[in-house]
């Protein structure tokens, strides 16, 4: 059991009207919730770290709620999601992996019935490191229009003994999606893939 010490929270919201093509009747919205926390395992090799996942659950839920609020306040508007972590240089990549379960749990909990695996990425880096958080459809990973990513980062984080945790949600497809593949309207919704 470790305390989750949050130094800073950041919410980034984007509203995309067009990207050189027709202006969308309903703009695409994307948002990222970031939290900078102290890494309780920084500076040493700790064999048993998995317990920290449970400690992170409340923070994950809080971040997921921020995302819904930033995207209009209604969970059913959410169509895409993703997550990621940047571990400060006194930590190891494995510490970033601690975010998989609580980050995914939090978004599923808030979204109700999301079936698809939450796309994710992680790295070790210094303050200002940028992370391209991958995004896929919440119910079917193969929905091609919803493959996306959102770049996030914070100028002063993560410090060496910190972890920057990220959750991302979107309200729809890429603004000018037109490369075919499985459509959101064709989702069977059985296996989280198609």
């Amino acid at each position: 059991m470790h305390d989750v010490l949050v130094r800073k929270r950041v919410v980034i919201a984007e509203e995309i009207f067009h990207e050189g093509g027709p202006v969308a009747t309903k703009p695409l919205r994307r948002a990222a919730a970031l939290a900078v926390i102290h890494n309780p395992f920084a500076g040493k090799y700790v064999p048993e770290i998995a317990g920290f996942m449970d400690d992170l659950n409340p923070l994950g839920l809080e971040m997921a709620k921020f995302l819904i609020a930033a995207l209009g306040g209604v969970a059913k508007l959410i169509e895409g999601y993703g997550k990621g972590a940047i571990v400060g240089t006194a930590g190891e990549l494995e510490h970033g992996a601690l975010w998989h379960v609580p980050g995914g749990y939090a978004m599923r909990e808030i979204l109700g019935n999301a079936k698809a695996i939450v796309a994710s990425t992680k790295k070790v880096g210094g303050p200002g490191t940028r992370l391209d958080v991958p995004i896929t459809h919440i119910n079917a990973s193969y929905v091609r229009s919803h493959f996306d990513a959102m770049e996030v980062g914070i100028a002063d984080a993560p410090k060496s003994d910190e972890i920057l945790l990220a959750l991302v949600m979107t309200t729809g497809a890429r603004v000018h999606a037109r490369v075919g593949g499985l459509k959101a309207s064709e989702i069977k919704g059985e296996d989280g893939l198609r």
Partner: protein
């Protein structure tokens, strides 16, 4: 609206601890940014009036978004700043036309007061360029606890023919301000300086 907006972003930061010391209440700052088409990209145009009008529109829109992102009444804002990054086919003077002649009035209208100069910065750059928005107290430029800056960046902007325009607003000064100088409770509020 004169401005052709491709996307709007908001960034909210909340600092809860600094150097292990709790910041109570947490300091919060927000920036709202618009990515717009530069109507004068790629050619020299003498009269920049169109950009000045765009500056007026964005002054209102972005201040409103930033204040909404903080969730406070405009009058509770403590410091502010503005900045623009011009894409490679524009000139620095385009940023100046947006930032200087006209946004002051709508910004101050949204915030109730604002006797102090709105600190500003500008640059030319490519997509993802970091924009450091200077911050100063809205009623007295010499309030030392509120000298600050907020970095934002948008990975896909400004494109060559675009301008990234941002306004930042806070509800507080630096997290653990302690280098003396004029404090906010000493503001006379007559000249915008002290």
């Amino acid at each position: 609206m004169k401005a052709k907006i491709r996307k709007i972003l908001t960034f909210v930061e909340e600092t809860r601890t600094e150097m292990g010391k709790v910041v109570n209440p947490p300091t919060r700052r927000a920036a709202a940014a618009a990515v717009i088409e530069n109507p004068f990209a790629g050619r020299y145009v003498e009269d920049l009036a169109e950009l000045m009008e765009i500056g007026e529109e964005l002054g209102a829109l972005l201040t409103e978004r930033a204040v909404a992102a903080l969730g406070i009444p405009g009058a509770s804002a403590e410091s502010y700043g503005k900045a623009a990054a011009v894409g490679e086919n524009g000139e620095l003077e385009h940023a100046a036309a947006i930032l200087h002649p006209k946004p002051g009035t709508p910004v101050r209208k949204a915030l109730g007061k604002g006797a102090a100069l709105i600190p500003s910065s500008k640059k030319r750059g490519g997509p993802g360029v970091a924009l450091d928005i200077p911050l100063g107290h809205k009623d007295a430029a010499f309030v030392r606890s509120h000298f600050d800056g907020m970095e934002i960046r948008v990975n896909d902007a400004p494109r060559a023919n675009e301008i990234l325009v941002a306004i930042a607003v806070t509800d507080s000064g630096r997290p653990l301000a302690r280098v003396g100088g004029l404090t906010k409770d000493q503001i006379k509020g007559e000249d915008g300086l002290r």
